[in-house]
Amino acid sequence: MTDNPTKTTPLDALHRELGAKMVPFAGYSMPVQYPAGVLTEHLHCRQHAALFDVSHMGQASIHGPGAAAALERLVPGDMQGLAPWRQKYTLLTLESGGIMDDLMVANLGAHAKNGDRLFLVVNASRKHIDLPHIAAHLPPGLHLEHDDDRALLALQGPAAASVMATLAPELAALPFMGVASITLAGAACLASRSGYTGEDGFEISIPAAQAEAVARLLLAQPGVMPAGLGARDSLRLEAGLCLYGNDIDETTNPVEAALMWTIPKRRRAEANFIGAAPILAALAAGPARKRVGILPEGRAPARGHTPILDDAGTAVGEITSGGFGPSLNAPCAMGYVRTDLAIPGTPASPRRPALSLLVRGKPLPARVTATPFVPHRYVR
């Protein structure tokens, strides 16, 4: 049996031309950084605008009448209430109450002939599980198309809107989580005002054949710098955003993951999505552990799988994502902590539970904190 060859995105040649350091990720060869480096790319994103190639992610469309209602069997979010040209963050849930993936769902409006059209963006590492699962659960009359002939770019940062102002003026009025069809470099694109950094910005879906032209056009705009997966990870960590496989996975339910805000009252009452019973039971009983932000008191980063200890040295949790936050100029992390200790505090607060992180065999003091570590700057 031969190994599956590593896949490339439509921008592979461009990344190499720009001098990117390429690494394997979810079966793809992806840029982890460009010559500027992770720190510079991260800081540039928060100060101006950075362009990320996220074409490895899964893009798919559900066509047909009643698409939103059908999808509600698989996700606990309000899909039927998702207005045309709006997008929502939601979860694919498992019978166990665990999480199969997190994803964005956009409503691209109804067609007289084809019924509803929903556009989904799922994680690269999970698309081979998500898409067959969704397809298997669609009733007759509904079809799932894997849009694997499309690239996905993310332009993120406070200057993103002004960059797009000359190229696609209609985006200026797009609200956060709004979606629009635009033309860039002659290509018919789909843009949403959203991202994975906590900054203002756009995610742009482009036909693969035209992706390089669009990327070059965006990189030619003043103040736009290419950024890789290294910066993407440090940005989302500072923003307190979950990474599937680290902070959420098949063993975490939305209650302990602090993602119940994605499940509105109507859906909880109807309890008609996969995994509804165990999720609602966990909500009623209260979870044994909770996902929280964790700030080491010193300068040493604490990475994934670092044990979290109480003041007696007993393990009470584990870091799921951790590293150094360039904008914070300090280490930061997320992890699960026993619920009674998952209380954000301040150094001055006497009720703060004393926690430590076991790094290289030594307990380093840390505290629970609310996320994000760096405030979100979504344009609402």
């Binding site: 992770v38 720190l39 991260h42 290294g230 980063p301 150094f324 360039p326």
Partner: protein
């Protein structure tokens, strides 16, 4: 007589008046990326050749730094604790990690010379 040698773990060692100054090479700092944290050994500590005694962390990952020779740590570089990016900016100079008194100076001369280290880099 040259006073600069290298290890297979991408450290440089410079002998200065009986004391060995140790840092990581240009290749190592470039491979690591932006350094954000270093942990250095305490002065006075006795270390063995090949013992992991320091840590250098980039945004993405942590790496061990090893004692290139047996000896006693005499000094650690506070400058790179205060400004970890100095390791990237000047890995061969101001970005040094620690200094040590050697148990056996002959062992220093047995480390890789410039040509041997350059040849090693070409195999990577």
């Amino acid at each position: 007589m040259t006073t600069l040698r290298y290890t297979k773990e991408h450290e440089w060692v410079r002998l200065e008046g009986g004391i060995a100054v140790v840092g990581i090479t240009e290749h190592a700092q470039d491979a690591l990326g932006d350094v954000v944290f270093v942990e250095l050994p305490e002065p006075g500590r006795q270390v063995d050749d090949g013992e992991a005694i320091a840590v250098v962390e980039s945004v993405k990952a942590a790496s061990d730094v090893y004692a290139p020779l047996a000896g006693r740590i005499t000094e650690s570089n506070q400058a790179i604790i205060d400004d970890p990016a100095l390791v990237n900016r000047d890995s061969a100079g101001e970005g040094w990690f620690f200094k040590m008194a050697l148990a056996d100076e002959a062992a220093f001369h047995a480390l890789l010379d410039e040509a041997a280290y350059t040849a090693l880099l070409e195999t990577l």
